[in-house]
Symmetry: C2
Subunit: 129 residues, 2 copies
DNA sequence: TAAATACTGAACCTCATGGTTCAGTATGCG
DNA sequence: CGCATACTGAACCATGAGGTTCAGTATTTA
């Protein structure tokens, strides 16, 4: 479908945006588990958990292996380095920006105060029709 | 339930799961911009970009200020520390898990070899934990 | 004052997500 | 064998995300 246009980074972050999936990752980080065990632990149907595991597996964050009728899930070889790297890069940008802007911010705060006496409504402009 | 204070983390990661939003953050990290400028840069309607900015603003990652008819967007005071922290914590878990399993894996490989000389082609040896 | 600019909000569209139920299939056990 | 267990897949559902258009409102500019 459409989804293949999305990048690894998109997928990494999207995967992490779900609390259940983060929980599963942490759980598997501690100990391998079957689908049933995970479903129980997160109060969800087998089918529902299977989907989450599928997402995690497709992202390379989890590997599974079926032995007999039991599918065992473990954390996968892929780390979250790309996501971590993006955030780290952004932190640098942020630091540079804010370090350089410290004076400007002070100025803005002062200006804000004088503006407040004048006009403090910013987003609710309609009074007249 | 076992879950975290899901909302913040959920939001942080969800915000980052969109390439446009990541781009906007990077852009604003370099230089403040109006909605129109951002919309142009990312080939999107004003309304569309406004929504993204709204999401970023609600997450505290962007602040905006309307002066006259122009709304100027800047990166906000909030850093991505919570997201970074989660990933970092997971990296530790991951390392511990995989470091701890190194010997096991080595053993398994060796066992594989001796098994191959035998007759048993079953190498799914993780049964014992 | 009239026209262009910049944003805003409502309504709508399409598609993905997170979850379910239900009906299988394969496996293990007594 | 016959039943319970464990997973699988299809179908369905509700919600929300990401985007659009269209019709405004407010501000600047000529």
């Amino acid at each position: 479908m459409v989804q293949y246009a999305t990048t690894d980074l998109d997928m990494s972050f999207a995967v992490l945006a779900d609390a259940t999936r983060r929980g599963v990752l942490e759980q598997l980080g501690r100990e391998a588990a079957s689908i049933t065990q995970l479903a129980d632990r997160f109060h969800m149907t087998l089918t529902g958990m299977k989907k989450h595991v599928g997402v995690l597996e497709q992202a390379g964050l989890v590997v599974t292996e079926k032995v007999g009728r039991v599918r065992t899930c473990r954390i996968g070889a892929r780390r979250l380095d790309d996501a971590a790297a993006w955030i780290e890069r952004y932190q640098l940008l942020w630091d540079a920006r804010f370090d350089g802007l410290d004076q400007v911010i002070d100025e803005l705060k002062q200006r804000e105060q004088s503006d407040a006496t004048n006009d403090d409504r910013d987003n609710r402009g309609e009074g007249t029709r």
